[in-house]
């Protein structure tokens, strides 16, 4: 896994360096609307990013997509769901760290309860029992933490292998790997093999879950790269807003509830703006 981190860092440096290689030419200054569009798109590395997109697309067509299709074909849905749950459960330590860094006690509580319930009753995370017991899962990572700390997202980046990103999320990716206890547990070939299998399974799981979406986006978009760029940013903003707006009170259910207007029930998609 340390090798994985080193790779992450290498990749990020490479992409930042490639800044020098390919920059999008800004439109002429006498066309204010075009300039506004250019700034809103905020993709100064577009030529490089497009090259990375093409590279990832080739990789996907050759390896990841067929693998995901085979996985969907060969493994029953319930088992895939279980595998997904195990992977999610392995991610709870990092998730908990981020919940706490974001100052979201209820989310941290959910994550902790999920870990204990699902690891035991849920048989090492295979069954998501906690969800039915009132501890729903939520998406979070260090990129979201940085966003809540006020760091701007920066220009768009398309990373090889990892796909759409931005400097904030790319840093989050690297810090996330450092935060993961599994990065630091044990050493030797077996541990490294397990780390890599988890990394690979995560990729396969995510790709299988988005087989249909990615397929139809590619089919319907006139410019798939621009469409994925837009989708990625909107989706991230949605997750950030979810975290920001999750201000549930920390009073236990059995305790007399005081009425505070800012602590009403939390509903993920409710307060999202676009």
């Amino acid at each position: 896994m340390r090798a994985v981190i080193r790779r992450h860092l290498l990749v990020i440096t490479a992409v930042l360096l490639s800044h020098l290689a390919g920059c999008a030419a800004p439109p002429p200054a006498d066309d204010p609307e075009a300039v506004a569009d250019f700034n809103e798109t905020n993709d100064p590395l577009e030529p490089t990013n497009r090259a990375m997109y093409a590279f990832n697309n080739g990789l996907d067509t050759a390896i990841l997509r067929p693998a995901a299709q085979a996985y969907r074909f060969a493994v029953p849905g319930a088992v895939r769901e279980g595998v997904h749950n195990v992977l999610t459960n392995l991610g709870t330590p990092v998730q908990l760290g981020n919940d706490m860094l974001q100052g979201k006690p209820r989310r941290a509580g959910d994550t902790t309860m999920r870990f204990f319930i699902n690891t035991t009753v849920g048989v090492l995370g295979f069954f998501d029992v906690a969800k039915d017991w009132g501890y729903p899962d939520h998406d979070t990572d260090f990129g979201i933490t940085l966003a809540l700390w006020g760091l701007p997202e920066g220009p768009f980046l398309f990373l090889p292998v990892f796909g759409p990103s931005d400097p904030r999320d790319a840093s989050g990716l690297a810090v996330g790997a450092v935060m993961d206890p599994f990065t630091w547990v044990g050493q030797g070939l077996a541990v490294r093999a397990l780390d890599w299998s988890r990394f690979g399974m995560n990729g396969l799981d995510q790709r299988e879950r988005h087989l249909d979406d990615i397929e139809s986006t590619k089919r319907t978009a006139l410019d798939p790269y621009a469409t994925f760029r837009s989708l990625y940013r909107q989706h991230r903003q949605g997750r950030i807003d979810d975290a920001r707006n999750d201000n549930r009170a920390t009073i236990p259910v059995w305790f007399p509830q005081s009425v505070r207007p800012d602590t009403v029930t939390y509903s993920p998609s409710a307060s999202r703006s676009h």
Binding site: E33, A34, D37, T41, R72, G77, R209, L211, D212, D213, E215, S216, R219, T220, A221, L222, D223, Y225, A226, T227, R229, S230, L231, Q234, H235, Q237, G238, R239, D241, D242, S267, P268, S269, A270, R272, S273, H274
Partner: protein
Amino acid sequence: MPNRRDFLVLTAASLLPAAARAQSGDGRASAFVKGIGDRLVAVVNGPEPDRDKRAKLTVIIDGAVDVDGVARFCLGRFWRNASAEQQQRYTELFHKVLVTNITAKLGEYRGVRFTMGRAQQREENAVVSTVVERPNNPPTNVDWIISNPAGDPKIIDVVAEGTSLRLTQRQDYASYLSRNNNSIDALINAMRQQVGQAG
């Protein structure tokens, strides 16, 4: 202090109809989305061939979606630069592209079902939340943005997991245009090809 109480009562009384109106607008928006959703699910999961489904979808979409408004939104700043004739050709094609894109997803949506969430007012629109579930895919939070909820409700946007359909479409078109000398004719040709390919 009777005066103050009267004042309070009066204020409350004058606010109530507004609140009730908003409430009924949300309720109507919910009922509207539920009705459209039920009709869409019935067509998608129905037994008839795709050609017939396409015809039925066209009727539902043209009735429920403010397609002209969405089309204008998606062209963004280029709408004003377009000639009246280009605007008309573009809008006509946009109707077809929308139906084609939805028809193309018929296969992956077979077996779809949805559950209604809450409705709320956002500016002059109503936002109705639903959860859409389809086989092989994780459940998706989908918000329906309804304009004019109390009068003649129309869908003006669909927001899936925080991603707005019309905003994504607008950025797709904007990027295509900027890579094709901002030529609206080029966009129209590309759209025509899209519709043609799907038959």
